[in-house]
């Protein structure tokens, strides 16, 4: 039985037994190679669920929809490794109760998907530990290093050219499971921290703030990068920040629901090479 059939059946069982009130999964998209989020509330709809290599979106962001988990009922969700990490972070930031989430985990390879054993977010420590070891995003590593080797002027010019394209549609924020603030800092106008016009300065500031707020929280699901309508390589910044917290604090985000958030914790002997 393919994993798609297996999870369709599992979703139907969960829904008909009343264990979960909703299953968040993938449905057919506008073209055969695309998938869109699908919200299934009854067992007979589960035949619409898809699961294959085209399912790249991280669905965990839907879990923090306002009021969804307020009735203490459970929700089933299709999650890849990044999604599982996102749920861990959301739980560690007290945004959800991890025991309300029934995970149908899958691992995406080039052409196929395989099932991940477990249904609670605490069931995947070995998979996450292995993930930390193999350091995801290795494909970006070479590009990040190329940017690191530039002079500051060249780097500035490079990012200026990228951010110049930004139209501040905030798709990167909208798609990100970590961007759940009710009021984002860019929507604040008292004081106006980030310039809202589409000049490069405000774009620069917005992208810096976004990257900073995701430091040590981003799981590199690549959602922002795919969502960006002008193809700003946001994954490179996210990769660089993930490298930083890993090097400085041995922090790999989303390891467990009890993990301390890196910028809200400290050690007395944290490295401080640059402070005079």
């Amino acid at each position: 039985m393919s994993i798609q059939e297996q999870y369709r059946k599992k979703a139907a069982e969960l829904l008909s037994s009343g264990e979960v009130k909703l299953v968040i999964g993938y449905g057919a998209g506008t073209t055969p190679d695309r998938r869109r989020p699908l919200f299934v509330r009854s067992a007979d709809e589960t035949s619409k669920l898809h699961l294959d290599a085209a399912c790249e979106a991280n669905l965990s962001g839907y879990l923090v929809t306002e009021g969804l988990l307020a009735d203490r009922k459970k929700v089933g969700i299709f999650l890849g490794p990044e999604g599982i990490r996102s749920v861990n972070i959301l739980a560690s930031e007290s945004q959800l109760d991890p025991d309300q989430i029934v995970i149908m985990g899958f691992n995406r390879e080039a052409e196929s998907v395989s099932a991940l054993e477990g249904s609670n977010v605490r069931d995947f420590p070995a998979m996450l530990a292995a993930l930390k070891e193999q350091a995801p995003g290795a494909g970006e590593q070479a590009l990040v290093e190329r940017i690191e080797n530039m002079t500051p002027e060249e780097r500035f010019t490079f990012w200026q050219a990228e951010f110049e394209k930004c139209i501040k549609c905030y798709a990167c924020r909208q798609v990100c499971p970590m961007c759940y603030c009710r009021r984002c800092i860019v929507d604040n106008n008292q004081p106006q921290w980030v310039q809202t016009s589409s000049h490069t300065l405000g774009n620069f500031e917005w992208n810096l703030v976004r990257a900073f707020h995701l430091s040590g929280r981003c799981v590199e699901c690549g959602g922002c990068d795919r969502a960006c309508p002008v193809n700003i390589p946001l994954r490179l910044i996210n990769r660089r920040m993930a490298m930083e917290v890993l090097d400085a604090y041995d922090h790999f985000s989303g390891m467990s629901p009890d993990q301390e958030t890196v910028l809200a914790s400290f050690k007395k002997d944290d490295p401080e090479t640059f402070i005079l």
Partner: protein
């Protein structure tokens, strides 16, 4: 015209240590360049990275962030939290091409008036050598003109 470039430097300092240190530098009649504008805050933990961006947005050529030595925080742990934030934010600034010579971090206690005066002098000299932050100024200038369609 052979006027020397006078950089604008914004210093975000905590009131218990570095501000008291600056005060000591003053009462001890130590000389340091007038290029620094000091912004006093309750704790380094209060210094949001947004402050640094805002200073640059308003045309600063350099930024100094300074507070109590680790372990000396009036609020016991504000500077430990700040230190993590600075480490990460500094890496981000570096990666996006903002020269790290322009953004400095230091610990200055209330007794270190001499250190404060010396740091401001060396920082001003360094930034004077770097010259105005032209790349950022060009972006600021752009915001003053209408967007081209």
């Amino acid at each position: 015209m052979n006027e020397q470039f006078e950089p604008k430097i914004v210093a975000f300092v905590c009131t218990y240590c570095t501000y008291a240190g600056a005060d000591l530098a003053g009462t001890s009649r130590l000389k340091y360049p007038p290029n620094v504008r000091i912004v006093r805050l309750p704790c380094t933990g209060r210094i949001s990275p947004m402050f640094i961006l805002k200073a640059l947005q308003k045309g600063a050529d350099g930024v100094l962030v300074s507070g109590c030595h680790p372990g000396d925080c009036h609020f016991t742990s504000g500077n430990f939290h700040a230190r993590r934030r600075w480490t990460v934010f500094r890496a981000l600034l570096n990666f996006t091409g903002i020269p790290l010579d322009r953004i400095r971090f230091s610990w200055i206690s209330a007794a270190e008036g001499v250190k404060f005066a010396e740091l401001i002098s060396s920082l001003t000299d360094d930034i004077r050598k770097l010259g105005p932050f032209e790349q950022y100024k060009a972006m600021i200038h752009e915001t003053e003109t209408p967007v081209s369609l």
